[in-house]
């Protein structure tokens, strides 16, 4: 059985399942199983998609976000790329069984993975005009022939130029889907996996116009319909794919995480400074990014990276160059910090209800340099602001540009397969369950490295013996009804 995955980056279950105009998705929901899908911590595009395809948690992959500490020095941060994750993915399993795959935009996929089949770079491709972003390389010229210059992302999508942003996102996605349809039709594949990044960009750019609860929501904005329109357009593309598939294909719509409104940002390093945990030689006169600060490491105990969530690092003796926390005190201190993060308030003095995770507790193993704590401020309603120099700890502007949306812990999935015994709503599915489930339904081996469970484990698969066409004679007869001439 073939496997087709249409990845909808950031697709929110409440939108996908709540808009009845998404007729193709509804038809798919009706013929399969669907529900919320619990993402990993952190629910971030990198590493979430690879957690899904390898069924391994971020700790086991050793990738905790886009940027990761390369070692225990204070400065070295590395950007994750395709070489950061070598774990065994679904397409590797298919390759073992002699099957071909097409992966397109599944992050991180630059440099393009050299899989058995076709691999096309993701939004991390630095320059799709100059870089070789496809494997085999010949595919690039075919793509250019079909759609011209191939956009992998909308650069600088955190912008106030909303008309430009909307048009650029649609322009990118139209080209990408044209390639999707072409690859599906013209190329050989048993595993197809595309990730639409446009949806994520649309959410970040326009969520405040769409979500009536958003602090920046204004009724009647011309951008109110941008998000629903994008979903409608995606539904059309999905419909085209649905029509083109044969009877022996599993189809999965899936998101790596959901979307939720941002109430603001919490200036985490500024707070650590206030608390005396992060010590500067000189406090900046203006808003300054963390890596430009003059840190007195000999007195610093804690610092953090910003982003949609906080990666918090401790300055540990014998681990960091100028460690201040004795290893013997590490766990006690970590519990104390966890409690202090959990006790933070929002801008109005109400509990912020942040979630604080110890990586060793939530991951099966820890590879590379893991944060000491991971914090979801306000359960991801608040961003983590690493920059320092604001008048307040709670800020409305984002240090990396306008952004209206954060990621939510729960994404979505719709799974339809001719042999799937599941139907209706499924509660309790997790991102790591996807790969074993698909391999199980597809009739492939599930590698031992996979940590999730097949949702259809132990269940009897349905027989797939074609369509029942009883009664079609009546339908044919009725086609002439009302013709007048008869």
């Amino acid at each position: 059985m073939r496997i087709c995955i249409l990845g909808l980056d950031c697709a929110a279950p409440e939108v996908v399942f709540g808009d009845e105009r998404l007729v193709n998705i509804r038809r798919l929901m009706d013929s399969g199983v669907y529900g919320r899908l619990e993402s990993v911590v952190p629910p971030i595009t990198v590493p979430a998609w690879m957690c899904m395809t390898t069924s391994q948690d971020p700790g086991s992959l050793g990738v905790y976000g886009f940027r990761n500490r390369s070692d225990y020095s204070y400065e070295k941060l590395g950007f994750a790329n395709s070489n950061s994750i070598k774990a065994f993915a679904m397409w590797d399993q298919l390759a073992l069984e002699g099957k071909k795959s097409i992966i397109m935009g599944v992050p991180p996929n630059f440099p393009p993975r050299r899989i058995n089949g076709i691999s096309i770079g993701c939004f991390l491709t630095p320059d799709p005009v100059r870089d070789e972003f496809t494997h085999p390389t010949s595919i690039k010229s075919k793509i250019t022939e079909l759609v011209g210059e191939y956009p992998v992302d909308v650069k600088n999508f955190r912008t106030d130029r909303k008309d430009w942003l909307r048009d650029e996102i649609f322009r990118m996605s139209r080209k990408q889907w044209e390639i999707v349809h072409w690859l599906m039709r013209e190329q050989e594949w048993d595993y197809f996996h595309y990730v639409d990044i446009g949806l994520d960009r649309v959410h970040h750019g326009f969520w405040n116009y769409f979500d009536k609860q958003h602090v920046q929501y204004e009724a009647g904005s011309p951008y109110e319909s941008v998000i629903p329109e994008y979903y409608l357009w995606l539904d059309e593309q999905i419909g085209r794919v649905m029509e083109s598939l044969d009877e022996e294909t599993i189809l999965l719509l899936v998101s790596d995480h959901g979307a939720k409104r941002l109430d603001g940002g919490f200036a985490v390093n500024q707070w650590l400074i206030q608390e005396g945990l992060l010590v500067l030689n000189q406090y900046p006169k203006e808003v300054t990014p963390f890596n430009k600060l003059d840190v007195d490491w000999s007195k610093t105990r804690v610092w953090s990276e910003g982003g949609y969530y906080a990666r918090v690092f401790f300055n540990v003796q014998g681990r960091e160059p100028q460690g201040t926390i004795s290893p013997a005190d590490y766990e006690r201190f970590r519990d104390e910090m966890k409690a202090r993060f959990e006790g933070l308030a929002d801008d109005k003095g109400r509990p912020l209800d942040s979630l604080v995770f110890k990586p060793n507790e939530i991951y099966r193993s820890l590879r590379n340099v893991a944060p000491d704590l991971i914090v979801h401020f306000g359960g991801l309603s608040w961003r983590s602001i690493g920059t320092v120099g604001y008048p307040e700890l709670h800020v409305q502007e984002n240090d990396t540009g306008p952004d209206a949306c954060n990621h939510a812990q729960f994404g979505m999935f719709v799974l339809a397969a001719p042999n799937s015994p599941l139907s209706g709503v499924y509660e309790g599915a997790r991102l790591l369950d996807i790969a074993p489930t698909l391999l199980d339904l597809g009739g492939y081996e599930i590698p031992d490295s996979m940590q999730g469970r097949s949702l259809v484990a132990g269940m009897e698969k349905k027989q797939t013996d074609g369509m029942n066409d009883a009664g079609s004679e009546k339908i044919i007869h009725d086609r002439l009804a009302g013709l007048g001439y008869v």
Partner: protein, 616 residues
């Protein structure tokens, strides 16, 4: 200045009527067009039918090259009749819907234009369901089904328990109360076996003082009021297929009477242009755009509700009122498009003249069995009225005439009386060319004719509006006739036999001629056409029963239906009309000349497959 071609199709306009009205100065706008150029008769296709002729208009070819030979085709595997315009294909997988493809082949002129970069807007084209994509804006016409998949099945609601369903309708018996819960019948749910009907609830209350019905629809508008003897507005409804999916549609109600018993009628449930079940326009969202701009419109191919009128569910006035609103909808979309039409090709078809003539011909033909002098007087020449209405509509087109615009007004075929019907299958049986099982005799009540026929002894059979097929070995599922000398003998027997048919009651021959397909068709799809085509005399047509492969009790009988005019006779006797604001190089225009003419005017070379030649 960019060149423009505006084509207004007036379906079924009959030359003799047009010429007489022209003579009396009753068609001033058509007269003006003629003064600028040309009026003449235009040769139609074999057979003279809307989908066949308009397909030849679009492709510039004879039917053998575009594959549309009739409204009705038969499946040689099952001998069952089916609609010949589009093909419904089963779903390719468990989660996709059935697909529909148009059966019209060949290259339409809008495709040739698109390839040359010339834009087209084509409104309500027959046999274009689903329409060609990427050739401009196209809205499909005749051939678009209702939500049940047919050409129009309405529903009659009555408090009279003795009333039973007639042909092609749903019947709903109402409780005897002034506040009733009932439902609108939507599409079939084919995902369950046996199939069920999807319905949506409505509440109907009578306001006796105001003589109107208050219908709470649960759709948009949520509540409507419809006066007795009046049509309500379009109501958008949803039919729930599951918790997740519903199928949108729209319906209009007509209140037949409120006393002594409540009776009302719901039109066939049309596709909602904003979200049709299948694509009715190209680009797909074009139908929605039109509805946003000009209001909701009938999407059903045969929008005029002749079946309900034929069944006596409403009267002449109601049918005409509905024809009027269909005409108005069409006029509105035409005006909207003409306002933004700057270059290229524009086409709109008004089907209403065809539907009015089908139903009211008996009021202008004293020899028609259904002639009714009182009604004829009351209705005041409904056909001529429709012609005048068409002419009036043309004012806004005539006002757009300039030296860079070619205006063409044409009909696809003419019209004639349908007084008597001839049952081809009954005749074949009489000749021993068709056998029935178990010594049965031809009769109307043979419910599934294909199963009553003894195919092992049948040489030929009729399906469709004039076609006869040989029961050919190797082609038909249980074919017995060998191609060659044997087939030729059968053909000859049919040709000679039919030519001699005389209607003894009327003392007239019923059939003008019989055409072999080789003599009238050429091209890649000839093999799909009937082997023989019966060309009837004026006043005659194939029987209702033979059209769907069945039998009548008698060979020749009076046509007593309201459907009293028709055009499926010898095509030489029912040419259409052609007006152009440009002189022609030659007479004897044929409908296949139109595509080359239009392309020529726009400076685009005709497709090599096109058989016609430019008239200008």
């Amino acid at each position: 200045m960019k060149k423009k071609v505006i084509v207004i199709g007036l379906d079924g306009l009959e030359p003799t009527i047009v010429e007489s009205l022209l003579q009396h100065g009753e068609l001033p706008n058509l007269s003006r067009i003629r003064q600028h150029g040309h009026y003449g008769r235009i040769k139609t296709t074999y057979p003279a039918q809307t989908p066949v002729a308009w397909s030849s208009f679009a492709t510039g070819t004879n039917p053998g090259a575009h594959g549309i030979f009739d409204f009705i085709r038969r499946d040689p595997e099952t001998y069952q009749p089916d609609l010949a315009l589009s093909q419904f294909l089963p779903p390719k997988n468990a989660f996709s819907p059935p697909r529909v493809v148009s059966r019209r082949k060949g290259v339409a002129l809008w495709k040739v234009l698109a390839q040359a970069g010339v834009p087209s807007t084509v409104l309500r084209f027959p046999c274009a369901f689903p329409p060609d994509v990427g050739c401009g804006r196209i809205l499909a016409g005749v051939g678009v089904p209702d939500l049940r998949g047919g050409q129009g099945t309405g529903a009659f609601y009555t408090q009279d328990p003795t009333i039973t369903a007639q042909e092609h309708e749903q019947l709903v018996h109402l409780a005897k109360a002034d506040d009733i819960k009932t439902h609108v019948i939507g599409p079939r749910n084919t995902s369950v076996k046996p199939f069920t009907d999807l319905t949506t609830e409505i509440r109907v209350r009578v306001d006796r003082a105001a003589s109107k019905l208050i219908i709470e629809t649960g759709g948009t508008p949520a509540k409507i009021e419809v006066a007795e003897k009046a049509w309500g507005p379009w109501v958008r409804l949803k039919f729930k297929l599951s918790m997740l999916q519903s199928i949108p549609g729209m319906v209009r109600f007509y209140v037949c009477q409120l006393a002594p018993l409540i009776q009302f009628y719901a039109s066939p449930v049309n596709f909602d242009p904003a979200s049709p079940l299948y694509p009715i326009s190209a680009p797909a969202e074009y139908a929605r755009e039109l509805a946003d701009k000009v209001g909701l419109f009938s999407t059903l191919g045969m929008a005029e509700d002749h079946t309900a009128y034929n069944n006596g569910r409403f009267d002449e006035q109601a049918y005409q009122a509905q024809c009027d609103s269909v005409f108005e909808e069409r006029e509105k979309m035409m005006l909207f498009e003409l306002d933004r039409f700057r270059e290229g090709f524009f086409f709109v078809l008004f089907d209403t003249p065809d539907r009015v003539q089908h139903m009211f011909w008996r009021l202008r033909d004293r020899q028609h069995p259904g002639y009714n002098p009182d009604l004829a007087q009351r209705c005041e020449e409904p056909i001529e009225k429709m012609y005048r209405r068409c002419d009036k509509m043309l004012a806004s087109v005539v006002n757009r005439l300039d030296e860079n615009t070619l205006v063409i007004v044409l009909s696809d075929h003419g019209f004639n009386s349908f007084r008597r019907s001839f049952d081809t299958n009954t005749w074949l049986w009489q000749q021993g060319l068709l056998a029935l099982k178990n010594d049965k005799k031809p009769a109307e009540d043979l419910t599934n004719p294909a199963e009553s026929i003894d195919w092992s002894k049948t040489h030929a059979y009729a399906v469709g509006l004039g076609g006869i097929y040989l029961n050919l070995r190797g082609r038909e599922q249980a074919g017995i006739v060998h191609e060659g000398a044997e087939a030729d003998r059968v053909r000859k027997a049919i040709e000679e036999g039919l030519r001699e048919i005389v209607d003894s009651e009327r003392q007239r021959p019923a059939i003008q001629s019989v055409s072999r397909r080789e003599s009238i068709y050429s091209g890649a799809f000839v093999s799909e056409s009937p082997d023989l085509l019966v060309n009837f005399q004026e006043g005659y047509r194939v029987s209702w029963q033979s059209a769907v492969g069945g039998f009548s009790d008698t060979l020749l009988s009076d046509n007593t239906r309201f459907w009293s005019g028709d055009h499926i006779i010898d095509p030489e006797a029912v040419p259409g009309v052609l007006f152009m604001n440009h002189p022609v190089r030659r007479e004897n225009a044929a409908i296949t000349d139109m595509a080359p003419t239009i392309l020529h005017y726009l400076g685009v070379p005709a497709d090599p497959a096109m058989e016609g030649e430019s008239l200008i």
